[in-house]
Amino acid sequence: MAEVISTVEILEEIPEVDISDSVRNFAGQNGDYYIREFKRIQASKHGFCWTFNLGSAVFGPLWATARGLWGLFWIFSVLEMVLLVMLGLGLWGDLGIDKFNRADRLQVNYERMLDRVEAAREKGDEVGVESFQNRAASLAKARDKARAEGEAIAAGGTRLLVIAIVGLILLKLFEGWVANIAYERQYSRWRGDRTVRSGLNWSIGALGLVIILFVYVVTLVRFTFSNPPDYIVEIPIGKKLYDPIASGIDYWFDLASQNFAFLFLGVSRGIRIILDAVEILLVGTPWPVVMAVIIIFAYRSAGIRVAIFTAAALVYIGVLGYWEKSMATVALLGTASFLCVAIGIPLGVWFARSERAFSFGRPILDLMQTMPSFVYLIPIIAFFGTGKPPGILASMIFGLPPIIRLTTLGLRQVPKDVVEAARAFGATNRQILRDIEIPLATPSIMAGVNQTILMCLSLVVIAALIDAKGLGYDVLEALQYAAKGQGILAGIAILFCAIVIDRVIQGKFKDTEKGG
């Protein structure tokens, strides 16, 4: 029979982990102190432990940097700085100086008013005397009020001083308490990751000292001196550099737009041709035909519910007289999306194939998406002028990145072994792209198309700024004249366009997923 051992006995037999050597290694100086404290912290339950580090309490942020605890350094130094500013204000700050200055100015005015009272009296102008006296009295009242307020604030200085001193003491206690706990955490991380800072490092501590001296002194001067030097308050350069650079950019833009006018014109014309074709299709075709086609298409691709919603949206657009503008917007959007897809998919394929092209292109894509649209409207206006083609170009800058990214992503997610199998059966790169990569990346590419269309739509209002017309123009106009009704109606029309397009494409997209 095996001896039955109770759980408690087993627990008692578990040997203690001895961290002494590794803590000594980690802490460097004062190793024995930290061994003791860390053991206490690790023995504490519920993660709470009374511990106090005198070094941290006295030196605060400096201790933190020297021990490599940068997070604590920032917390300590910011808190200390706030309290020191309070202390400075309490000790030598000109509190209430604004109010006293105001009181002085009022005093001057009051005396001037008294002079005018005298002058009126000499002239025997009774009405004047009374009116000037009234004004003098109100000036005196204002002066007394300002002076009283100033004194109240100045008296608050003592309170500020007390708060600052109490705060500093509490902060020091906090610094002493939190130090060992934070340092023990750092030690735990260090055990697994030797790049974590360990030991006591005076050179880093010196860096902390420099930072603190600089920050504390400059901040104290700024907040507590009544007349801090100008060069602290404002960057002492002014517009000396700004003006020549701005006019230089103007010059280069003008030069470029003159010399490459043929290029910009060519691009504009190209876009115009596509746009005209789409507009004739949407605007030129009688509205019952277009409406019927849209509803049937919605039904075929996304089912009856989306078809009903589409019909309702079209009724809204038609009844409120937005039909033509909506179709113009959709034409704008369609052209922009078509161009995005036509350019974006080949680029996406290229980026998926060439690591170098991708690493070069990715920052540009990031730039295109992060740059506020108003900023790139400026070069577009400079080179392409205003109207619909520049509006489409602006939409494209916003709409291109998703299709490129998702095409690249989709192609990269194609299983390597399937591609290898095709290669093993003698497929050429083109066959692999056509038979395997594109079909397998289709869900991702379709998501990209959808996003691109919605991105382009979101730029419709902004494109209206450069005279691209459509529904966006109504919203823009409403903004200018604070015409709430007009703005909301047109906004809802845009929203309906977006929802219908999104639903229909999503429906279509689900179809391809099922089929594949």
Binding site: V418, A422, A424, F425, A427, I436
Partner: protein, 349 residues
């Protein structure tokens, strides 16, 4: 060159990494080892100095643990991976000298490949998967349908033509993979751990099916596996790989009875010898055998010296006498006592 040799690799090396060329030169001039190359050049040796021949109609198994370079090795035959050094011949042609077009031609017509994870095209029906090699070659749709039908019936998947791969079980998917490899009626089959991802029961079924199919089609096959049992079941000959090197090439019997080093010995230790070891390996020459008390060799059962141990057991349990083995002319050549038989079952010799 021997006409019967279908695949030939001579001193093939593959070193992965940016400094592969320099590492290769260092190997040639200084004879650096795998660890030194990794340390000095940051390059990984995939396969090192591998040479072997595969004869027509043979199933040549390459067996090794994961990371031993066996999958890398098989990809050299159709140059899915380019060797850093060495020669590769397929059907007498120098594969390294083929133009890209000729290489694609060879892949499409001469080689069928089966992959560990099937690598079927998920967006195509079973039929279109099997027919894909023919589609690459530009065959007509009618021809593609005919061939894929035939190929699927070879692997017993009639009636599944219009299903999609995801609707099939793992075993069935791999049969589709096999049918695809057979579709272009290739001279050579490259099989990269085709049954490893399947559960043991299905694996055994597919092995049996594959054995039957090879007896029917006689395809020269290079078969990669990490399972020595599988290699022994299927292989005409086996090459054992370790750390990118081939440590031993031989028939299953040679490998089991005469392992080249401790590494191979470890592997074969638990392999059943019953079907691999034959009477002639364990028998004591007839004239040297000293009968024990009560033994009378004239009353012993007589069997051919080429029977395996499995058969010997069946014979031995029916008699108290040792078994006598004979050559093809019926002359007594050896004796296998029961002690000898038991030892043979355990040690293979």
């Amino acid at each position: 060159m021997n006409n019967d040799v279908v695949i030939e690799l001579n001193n093939a090396w593959k070193i992965f990494g940016e400094h592969a060329e320099e590492a290769m030169q260092a190997v040639n001039s200084e004879g650096l080892g795998k660890a030194e190359i990794l340390e000095k050049y940051g390059a990984v040796v995939g396969i090192a100095d591998c040479s072997f021949n595969v004869r027509r109609g043979e199933i040549f198994c390459i067996m090794g643990l994961s990371g031993s370079g066996k999958s890398t090795l098989v990809r050299h035959v159709n140059r899915l991976i380019e060797p850093t050094a060495g020669e590769i011949f397929l059907l007498g042609e120098d594969v390294m000298k083929l133009s890209p077009t000729a290489l694609r031609e060879m892949r499409a017509k001469r080689i069928g490949m089966v992959f560990q994870h099937m690598a079927l095209l998920p967006h195509r029906s079973v039929r279109d998967n099997v027919a894909y090699p023919l589609e690459i070659r530009g065959e007509s749709k009618a021809r593609r349908w005919d061939v894929s039908q035939h190929s699927l019936s070879l692997v017993g998947l009639d009636g599944f033509e219009d299903r999609f791969p995801r609707e099939l079980s793992g075993g069935m998917q791999q049969r589709v993979g096999l049918a695809r490899a057979l579709a272009s009626d290739p001279d050579v089959l490259l099989m990269d751990e085709p049954f490893s991802a399947l559960d043991p029961l299905i694996r055994r079924q597919l092995q049996d099916q594959f054995i039957a199919l090879s007896e029917q089609l006689h395809k020269t096959t290079l078969f990669i596996t990490h399972d020595l049992d599988e290699a022994i079941r299927l292989g005409t000959r086996i090459a054992i790989m370790k750390d990118g090197r081939i440590v031993q090439i031989g028939t299953p019997e040679e490998i089991v009875t005469n392992p080249a080093d401790d590494y191979v010995r470890d592997f074969v230790q638990n392999i059943s010898k019953l079907k691999l070891v034959f009477a002639h390996t364990i028998q004591v020459p007839f004239n040297q055998y000293k009968p024990m008390e009560g033994e009378d060799l004239s009353r012993s059962p007589r069997v051919s010296q080429d029977v395996d141990l499995d058969y010997l057991i069946d014979v031995a349990v029916k008699t108290t006498q040792p078994t006598v083995t004979t050559d093809e002319n019926g002359n007594d050549v050896g004796v296998v006592s029961k002690d000898r038989l038991l030892q043979g079952i355990r040690d293979g010799k």
